[in-house]
């Protein structure tokens, strides 16, 4: 923090730092009173810490990071590039101008598998560095088939690299509260869902339509803007906009599910980088994850799941006409 007057550590998922009404929860930085996307303007240079986590070595982590980075880079509709810089003895979290991914033993964070932090130049929104910490307190696995009782490292790294690239959390998932008050994932539709699947699963090694739409929004490949479409509308309750309503779009031709939130007080939402075609819209309250994983302000979750009154077409290279979806209290 030696350059503190100009730099700020960005916290994840604060709605005030979320780019307004464009698409997806993505990280933002306030620059001159204006919120801009947190994105890399060149290939992402990263180091891997050589610290171990139990039986998983720094070299194992390097391999998992390389696979996860390759997964993001393979999205054809986006231009994402990572550049491995080498191993380092420095742990993540140091202000050293380097982007470091590594294990740290944080026993007090007994429910946190990992997190991503940024150092941002607030004069221009440029990322100075970003670190990914993975909690060595957990039992990790790098087995290709997964290991019962151990958390799949590649899956969690894939999620954290999504943050590193500027994506926020997705709410596309279903959970249940266990007897101990912990949320357990029943199913999810995005690697960027904030709660991981159970130890032993490897399903989160594969990006879903929601992840792909989000990364394609942040780093669109050439021609993507013209080749894809968007949907826009408003969610209202008793005539007033509904901040935080989660809107899920289903493409009935492909089965792809992509979600986003109403991101302002008017209840306006926008889902972009969609395959052109008709979509079924489902609006639901954010009741399958902790609200503070997404928003720093209180949001209304007292409404029923509601379907849009008609299909909405995402036209190629443009956006749908706005649709209003009226929801009712529970």
């Amino acid at each position: 923090m030696t350059r503190a007057p100009r730099l700020v550590i960005a916290a994840l998922l604060i709605v005030g730092f979320t780019s307004p009404v464009s698409a997806y929860l993505k990280l933002g930085a306030s620059v001159g009173g204006r919120v801009v996307d947190v994105t890399w303007r060149a290939p992402v240079p990263y180091f891997v810490s050589d610290a171990d986590a139990g039986s998983v070595s720094g070299a194992d982590l390097r391999g998992a990071v390389a696979r996860a980075a390759a997964t993001w880079q393979a999205v054809p509709s986006a231009t994402v590039r990572f550049e491995y810089q080498g191993m380092t003895a420095a742990p993540p979290g140091l202000v050293d101008g380097r982007t470091t991914i590594g294990f740290l033993d944080r026993p007090e964070l007994d429910r946190v598998l990992g997190s991503t932090s940024f150092l941002i130049d607030t004069t221009n929104g440029a990322i100075v560095e970003a670190d990914v910490f993975l909690n060595a307190r957990f039992a990790w696995s790098v087995s290709a088939e997964g290991t019962p009782g151990r958390v799949d490292l590649e899956s969690v790294v894939l999620h954290e690299l999504g943050h590193l690239l500027g994506l926020g959390h997705s709410a596309l998932g279903e959970t249940e509260l266990t007897g101990s008050g912990v949320r357990r994932v029943i199913a999810s539709g995005a690697v960027m869902f904030p709660i991981s699947m159970s130890a032993g699963t490897i399903a989160d090694r594969v990006l879903q339509a929601d992840d792909i739409a989000g990364i394609s929004d942040l780093y669109p490949a050439a021609g993507q803007v013209a080749a894809t479409g968007g949907i826009t509308g408003r969610v209202t309750k008793n005539g007033r906009g509904l901040l935080g309503a989660h809107v899920v779009a289903l493409n009935p031709e492909t089965g792809a599910l992509v979600g986003n939130f109403a991101l302002d007080e008017a209840g306006v939402f926008s889902i972009i980088r969609l395959t052109p075609g008709p979509y079924i819209l489902r609006v639901e309250p954010l009741d399958d994850a902790e609200v503070d994983s997404f928003f720093s302000t209180a949001i209304d979750v007292d409404f029923r799941v509601t379907y849009a009154p008609r299909m909405v077409v995402a036209p190629r290279g443009g956006s749908s006409s706005s649709i209003e979806i009226k929801v009712l209290p529970k």
């Binding site: 088939e145 019962p148 596309l172 279903e174 199913a187 009935p252």
Partner: protein
Amino acid sequence: MRPHRLVLEGGVVWSGGYAIGDVDARLRRNATGSTPPPFTLFSASSDLSRAASVSARIGFTLTPSLAIEGGGSFGMPRVGYAISQDPEVGAQQIDGEQLTQYFVDGALVWHLPMRLGSRVRPLVVGGGGYLRQLHEARTLAETGQVFYGGVGARYWIRGGLGTARSFGVRGDVRANLRRGGIDFEDQARVFPTVAVHLFLSL
């Protein structure tokens, strides 16, 4: 029918509704293994509604029994869908969207060598054409082909089988095979149509 005559027709075609596909909104279930069974968030069944189209055709009689014809029709069917299997809301029918649909086709018409009274002559028709369906607000087009075969009859109101400048009513029933167009499973679909045209033989 007199050979080498033009026949102008205008009328209405009623199309039957038909399913255009089911889809499940699926999430990945939290379970071990590389391909655990999916979790269904909800299911949607879609159909194209019954609809009437306006139609215009022009034919040319090659022989007393055989004619070629071409034409086009315009209609606005709706794509509706039904939601089910959503654990948080009951099953429901959603209005869907209204399409703008154009169909241009060509056909062979064979007038059977038999008469049902002095004014009626049965016919067999077969053909195919190009289908263009525009989504609501005409923002996106989907195209396909329709092939059809059917039976019908002409009824002369004025003139008769061998006379010039006669006119009457033609009706036919067709079975249609549609490929392409708006379909959420990309399957060929079969649907019926009933057509009624006024015709003028020049």
